[in-house]
């Protein structure tokens, strides 16, 4: 299915949940926060959250700043 992640297009196959997506991308859930279609997804819901074709996902983490 086609997803937009951090404004880039991604094609995934076999990925159904947000947790699976993070796994596929080799992203540790503990250091990120995720928004799907402008709604923040609670960490506890990652494994149950189903992704859909065309979903716009933002994955943020902490970087250097003042």
């Amino acid at each position: 299915m086609r997803l937009t992640i951090n404004s880039d297009f991604f094609e995934t196959s076999g990925t159904r949940t947000l947790e699976e997506l993070l796994n596929d991308l080799d992203i540790e859930p503990g250091r990120v926060a995720v928004e799907v279609n402008l709604s923040i997804v609670k960490k506890a819901d990652y494994s149950a959250f189903m992704l859909n074709e065309g979903d716009k996902i933002e994955i943020v983490n902490f970087v250097g700043g003042g």
């Binding site: 992640i5 951090n6 404004s7 880039d8 991308l25 080799d26 992203i27 503990g30 250091r31 990120v32 926060a33 995720v34 928004e35 923040i40 997804v41 609670k42 960490k43 933002e58 994955i59 943020v60 983490n61 902490f62 970087v63 250097g64 700043g65 003042g66």
Partner: protein, 256 residues
């Protein structure tokens, strides 16, 4: 050692808070933060690099178990943006602390106090520990306190300007106006600026550019550590009053 800074039952082991922006690289960041003796380290919230999975992460160098991570909402010019970033930061699950910035102007990076107040009230109700980056207006500070802020962070001077504490009189009035901890944030350029903030009675100082932009950031980090300690001790020691005329330090008695 009974002079701990406490905010909402969180104990802080240092009154020097440091930022992690503008360093040469993560290793320099790590060394400067360590030299500073800081407990609180601010970070920004930005998109993760999904494409390059080998790229390093700040938190590989700044251990969240060793330091208290304070996410900011830098770059947010609206209440909506600030709320979005603050909520994302909290959901990362590393910290409930948020350094709330709602910026009003690109040139000065001064806070949009109206938006700041609004966002503070909303986030405080959601249970965030809100530390608003504000100006040196005591009335604003009081409003932020009433809105549920956990501390106030008045700027000393514009971010990165190195101009020091431009209005110590207002900072002093803020200290008398609010019961919350007062943490000077922005504008500290060198050690004496940090000491001055602490001598006024401030509870802590947050420094980023003043350290990261120095010729030797690690050395400056150490200088700031001592400055904050010295300033705090001097404040608690109770300075002498300022007088127009001299009072001799040596006795007259026994003069030849």
């Amino acid at each position: 050692m009974g002079d701990k800074l406490i905010i909402r039952e969180i104990e802080f082991r240092s009154r020097l808070w440091v930022g992690t922006g503008k360093y040469k690289d993560f290793e320099e960041t790590r060394r400067a933060v360590e030299a500073s003796g800081a407990d609180v380290v601010t970070v920004a919230v930005r998109r993760m690099n999904i494409i390059d999975r080998k790229s390093e992460n700040l938190l590989d160098y700044i251990d969240p178990k060793k330091y208290k991570i304070l996410p900011n909402t830098a770059g947010c010019y609206s209440v909506e943006d600030a709320l979005r970033y603050a909520r994302l930061a909290r959901e990362a699950g590393i910290s409930d602390l948020i350094k709330l910035e709602v910026i009003g102007d690109e040139k000065t990076l001064f806070p949009d106090t109206w938006g700041l107040l609004k966002a503070t009230g909303i986030l405080a109700k959601e249970g965030a520990i809100v530390l608003p980056y504000t100006n040196d207006d005591p009335i604003m500070a009081k409003r932020l306190e009433d809105a549920g802020a956990a501390a106030v962070m008045p700027l000393g001077a514009p971010i990165g300007s190195g101009l020091g504490i431009r209005n110590p009189y207002n900072i002093k009035i803020i200290l008398e106006t609010v019961k919350l901890p007062v943490i000077v944030d922005a504008g500290v350029g060198t050690a004496s600026d940090a000491a001055i903030a602490m001598e006024l009675g401030c509870d802590a100082v947050l420094i980023n550019t003043g350290i990261a932009g120095a010729k030797d950031p690690v050395a400056m980090a150490e200088a700031m550590k001592h400055a904050v300690l010295a300033g705090r001790l001097a404040y608690k020691a109770g300075r002498i009053p300022k007088k127009l005329y001299a009072t001799a330090s040596s006795p007259i008695e026994g003069m030849l």
